[in-house]
Symmetry: D2
Subunit: 204 residues, 4 copies
Amino acid sequence: MEQNLNRFKQRTFQVKSRCALSLLTAKLTMANAELSLKLGRNVILNIYSRIKSIESIREKCKKKGIKPEYTEALEKISDILGIRAVCAFEDDIYRVADILCQHQDVTVIRKKDYVRYPKISGYRSLHLIVEIPVCFQGETSQVRAEIQLRTTAMDFWAGVDHELRYKKGKKEAVLIGNELREYSRVVAELDEKMVELRRQIEII
Amino acid sequence: MEQNLNRFKQRTFQVKSRCALSLLTAKLTMANAELSLKLGRNVILNIYSRIKSIESIREKCKKKGIKPEYTEALEKISDILGIRAVCAFEDDIYRVADILCQHQDVTVIRKKDYVRYPKISGYRSLHLIVEIPVCFQGETSQVRAEIQLRTTAMDFWAGVDHELRYKKGKKEAVLIGNELREYSRVVAELDEKMVELRRQIEII
Amino acid sequence: MEQNLNRFKQRTFQVKSRCALSLLTAKLTMANAELSLKLGRNVILNIYSRIKSIESIREKCKKKGIKPEYTEALEKISDILGIRAVCAFEDDIYRVADILCQHQDVTVIRKKDYVRYPKISGYRSLHLIVEIPVCFQGETSQVRAEIQLRTTAMDFWAGVDHELRYKKGKKEAVLIGNELREYSRVVAELDEKMVELRRQIEII
Amino acid sequence: MEQNLNRFKQRTFQVKSRCALSLLTAKLTMANAELSLKLGRNVILNIYSRIKSIESIREKCKKKGIKPEYTEALEKISDILGIRAVCAFEDDIYRVADILCQHQDVTVIRKKDYVRYPKISGYRSLHLIVEIPVCFQGETSQVRAEIQLRTTAMDFWAGVDHELRYKKGKKEAVLIGNELREYSRVVAELDEKMVELRRQIEII
């Protein structure tokens, strides 16, 4: 296992991954430029990207019951490469997603709309699992990544939820989780209301 | 008037201003590094800075009833240079402010706590008017700037409020303004609750 | 004329241009990552990009005897979008060029090797005129750009040569131009020798 | 020994170091802005900074015959924090140094002019050992750093020289070292001549 996953460490993998992330970042920056031109306001506030650590990959393999081997992991864990774009408004999330899907070299493998259909925990975000061609050492291959699109309010909520995950199993964690789920609704209502107010302002 | 304000355009002013902003940005980055080390999480999510345009300076002079002259404007308008640090949590705002005030070369001229005492409009943020020495062409002079510290939720609210300002005077604007003020309270409650939940998570 | 070229000012053109430049910058960054991994040293030291100003476009139209119209200019002036990658060593220039040409979405229109065949002025650089697909408002179109690849020594020389161009016509400029041409040979010899020494070091 | 040097690893040291480097980078950026305004051309092309690795510190302690203890190392090894500014022209090196020395909070401990008095190896650069106050956890302390100022041509030469250092001891290295020393003179002559030509261009 160690041996197999060690391959992830290979700098080749790192370089290819960074290439894929920098191409996707460029595409998100372009989507932002196009939308900002059209709407007269900045649409994407932050773009983050990360490569999952080997420890997290190993853990996820275990959780998913899959062999911790390079090829299997790459196929079955879609968020080894992750990129997150944070927008101010909820409707902008879908605008950014639409533009990304128009790129001829971006293949959308799966779309998970946790904005309209939140997870039981209260988690909300729009996830796109995509593949993008990366040219490396003369060969072009498809690299998979997960794009998370969310509002700042959802991102704030998700940050606290993420902290809670590390304390899972403790009995207090359940109570806090319940309260947090409650506040996911406050966040959703806030996001919705702000879009409504912004639209009213736009037309007066 | 035009002649006097034209001086603002002078590239000298631009260069000195950019120097001041880059020093303050470095200090905020340092505060973030120190707090992140202590608290084990990223504290400042975004740092923005801008130099007020001449048009805005002229407008503000008019509104404040002061002569649109270089020296008077510089003395009486404290936000010609503006820098904004956006934190996830409300209590972090005060942590960042405390560290900034410890710097020997930062003189705090005024502190306006619109977080605890929001403006009538509902606007919330912690404002620090500071002076910082800038060395330019062999001479060191104090340059004034306004630092705005706020949470992402406050920043989101302020963005919509900012849009509304351009439509001021229209009768629909008043109604939207009232609704927006209402939502400032939702934002405040959300910020407060999330700090509470984060603290509970930290101690379990 | 003014009207025709004004279109260059259009923000749409600006946004599409910035998209093309950011994609090409990402591709150069990727080429650098791949080569650095292989060679164990940083290969590209600097990447610059610029969009030609309308004034420069107008001037070039005049010089080339073409109508200063949007479509004609775009077709006949290949360096409206320019991107420059500066390498330490001369042989790395060709390595970077090779990798760029392998990208399936990069079409090389023309290659001008002023490294091996310098201009009469002494100017040296490898120029690639390329086209790259840019997706904007749902439509994909080819955008043309000029990529200049050169060493730091060539870049240094070119900087002085560029200054001289503004003084053209003055009789002293001719004499300085002659001296500068002489020094282009010193630069070429230095670049060549340093590659030789680096190779000797690599094999001992 | 291990225990003492381990302290270098402490994240506190890392954070303080990064603070010092970001302040010095801001000061170099400011010097560049001031000079670019005055001279009408970009003066500093690149700014790099690095923190010496523990391995390198340990090695240097051994070479210098000093105890590998935290306090002694910090006092006797002045380039634990290093920052390098690369200029196009040789005379700009001294301009940048002059501006840095004017800053009230920058204490120049030592100045080593390897530009006018190159090392026997042929190495050329202007070194400033400086101290800068860093405010961390409410306390202000002086942090020492080495600033290297050089031209792109010197930097190119130094890059090859650096590679050679790793092969020291091998007999071929001596021969290459001799040739490299020869080329240090070509670099010096080139730098000198280009300043001369630039000055001639400026006055016509």
